[in-house]
């Protein structure tokens, strides 16, 4: 169990900067998820924590002790690699038991523990197979078992569920989360699946181009995205973004003008991007005029694509049946308190500001 701290940590290969100066604290026993587009430095950050890569500068601390010079083998970390990295010449049992080889443990106990963990991730029927005889999802679960078997202080999971089918993924999600809560192992999960991040983690870290864009609870990300990047990246379907300018309490955009205000002083001026969440837009007798150009049924919900005075908007209704048809003229309205506004120049959120019809 470890409290992890990064102080001004960077990583660069020549001119390629994978991780910009990063400060971060992960509390003992916490479960954090790291989200971010491909190539933003997620794996690199995990590798630095594991000691596989040395930071170019900065310090990594576990429980207040600097770890920069500590070898990976002495960090007691369990890691699931994006590529699984199972040992091809060992069968599943030996793969899972491998980390126990280096602990003073009787062989029989090591095997018993390996088999316990195998059962946990549902690979107990595959113990005698070689990795090349497993499917991608099975390999992934073996990798997870190998990471868990030595009861590490820190668990690093690099997209550990990406290859599983939807049902198994749901089961594994629940099991990993329960296991984490039970054992209290500090866990960092890299994922591309927002739902995975929001359902499993206590806190979410959103990265972009080697920088942390925002750290917070799922609720923070939903209600208070720190930047335009986060707003675009998180949420499915993503936020509707409307560009315009703020002047004397009005938000001017192409064909429409909205009221502009702030709970914290004067309404903002200058270039502004307004974010309207698809699920908070409602059809009604008045509001912004528009026309439905397409309908996308999404199972439990239905997504309407509108052409309006504010430009293209997505409206999400939480019902499976269609209430409107393509070509229909409609009005949409929204609650001012739920809008988020960004400064167009700095791309950061303007706290307290809102727009209204």
């Amino acid at each position: 169990m470890a409290r992890v701290e990064l102080k001004q940590v960077t990583k660069a290969w020549g001119d390629v900067v994978a991780v910009e100066p990063t400060d971060l604290v992960i509390e003992n026993g916490e479960f954090v998820a790291v989200l971010g587009p491909s190539g933003c430095g997620k794996s690199t950050t995990l590798f630095m924590l594991a000691g596989i890569y040395a930071p170019t500068s900065g310090a990594i601390l576990f429980d207040g002790h600097e770890m920069n010079a500590v070898e990976p083998k002495d960090r007691n970390i369990g890691i699931v690699f994006q590529s699984y990295a199972l040992y091809p010449h060992m069968n599943v049992r030996d793969n899972i038991a491998f980390p126990l080889k280096f602990q003073k443990l009787p062989k029989s106990e090591a095997i018993a523990r390996a088999e316990d963990v195998a059962r946990l991730v549902h690979v107990d029927e595959l113990l005698d197979r070689k990795p090349s005889q497993l499917s991608g999802g099975q390999q992934q679960r073996v990798a997870l078992a190998r990471a868990l078997v030595k009861q590490p202080n820190l668990l690093l999971l690099d997209e550990p569920l990406s290859n599983l089918d939807a049902t198994l993924r749901l089961t594994m999600r629940t099991e990993i989360k329960a296991l984490q809560k039970r054992t209290g192992i500090t866990t960092i999960l890299v994922t591309h699946d927002q739902l995975e991040a929001t359902t499993m983690a206590d806190r979410i870290i959103c990265m972009s181009r080697g920088r942390i864009e925002q750290i917070g609870t799922p609720e923070d990300f939903y209600s208070r995205p720190a930047s335009l990047f986060v707003a675009k990246f998180i949420g499915s379907p993503p936020l509707n973004l409307v560009e315009g300018t703020g002047r004397e309490g009005r938000f001017q955009t192409g064909g429409a003008s909205l009221r502009l205000g702030s709970d914290q002083g004067a309404p903002p001026e200058g270039g502004i991007v307004a974010g309207l969440r698809p699920e908070m837009l409602t059809f009604g007798p008045e509001g912004i005029a528009g026309e439905i150009v397409a309908i996308e049924p999404m199972g439990r919900e239905t997504l309407y694509i509108l052409d309006t005075d504010l430009g293209g908007l997505r409206v999400l209704e939480s019902r499976p049946d269609r209430t409107h048809t393509v070509g229909q003229k409609v009005h949409v309205s929204f609650d001012a308190a739920e809008t988020v506004l960004f400064d167009a120049a700095t791309e950061t959120r303007i706290a307290g500001a809102w727009v209204a019809v």
Partner: protein, 306 residues
Amino acid sequence: MSADLITQQKRRQRTNFVIFLGPACLLLLMFFVLPVVVDIAVAFTDMGRTLKAGEFTFENFERMFTRDRRLLKTLTLTFIYVLGTLAFFNVTFGLILALVTTALPSRAGGFFRAVWLLPRMSPSVVYALLWAWAIDPTERGLINQIFLALGIPILDLQNDFPMVLIIVANGFIGASMGMIIFTSAIRSIPEHLFHAARTDGAGGLRVVWHITLPAIRWPISFITVYQTLSLLVSFEYIWLITDGGPFFDTTVYALYVYKRAFESGQYAYGATLALLLVVIGVAASMLMWRFLNMKALLQEPRIEVH
């Protein structure tokens, strides 16, 4: 499927066979089967310097098995030479070089590999001359100069430790082949396996033992078999450096065959001796094929050919 299509496929199978296996079969025939046949034929004659084959005779075989007093000693020497060179240099030292140079930063590693490759690139006569200078028994020899500087009495390597000399001289060249094969094998191990092993708690030597060595098991087997066979039949460096001496102390089997056949002109007897070498070579490779489980090396084809 029409009969026409089937005959067409059959024809294609046959052309494929000729195209893919033909060249190898031809080489095998020309450079192995034919020479062996000629060798066997000559072994049953009394061919000498005149190259005239007289009548059919078992005389050579009788001589080899009953009257050749050198034979046993030569075979023992060959065994020591092959085993020593393999165990100390061609496999072990080659492996150590590969492990060390791949662990170094790539530029330094490349430099050291290049240094170890140099002897293989220089003509054998030049290499042999270098050794002749290095082991010169007087204080002019390189090794003796070093010994003098260290206060060790000078040494006549060629006379006192001839076997060590030929093993070392051959090993310095032989190691580079293993080094290159092992280096590329080590390079092709996915890097994440090393990362995984290190985070799983393995230190440097244990990573080598648990990850690197199992991954390069086949190259090691291959080098062992290949080098055994090439050491069995090659003698040029021994011939150049010691000429099999002092007396017969470094005359390995291949050199013995050469001396009998070409230096004393007993072609028929040389052919008979050579025949035994062929038998030893084939037996050695079959044994190793069996014990190193080389069959597992042959993989099922990845593409199904019809």
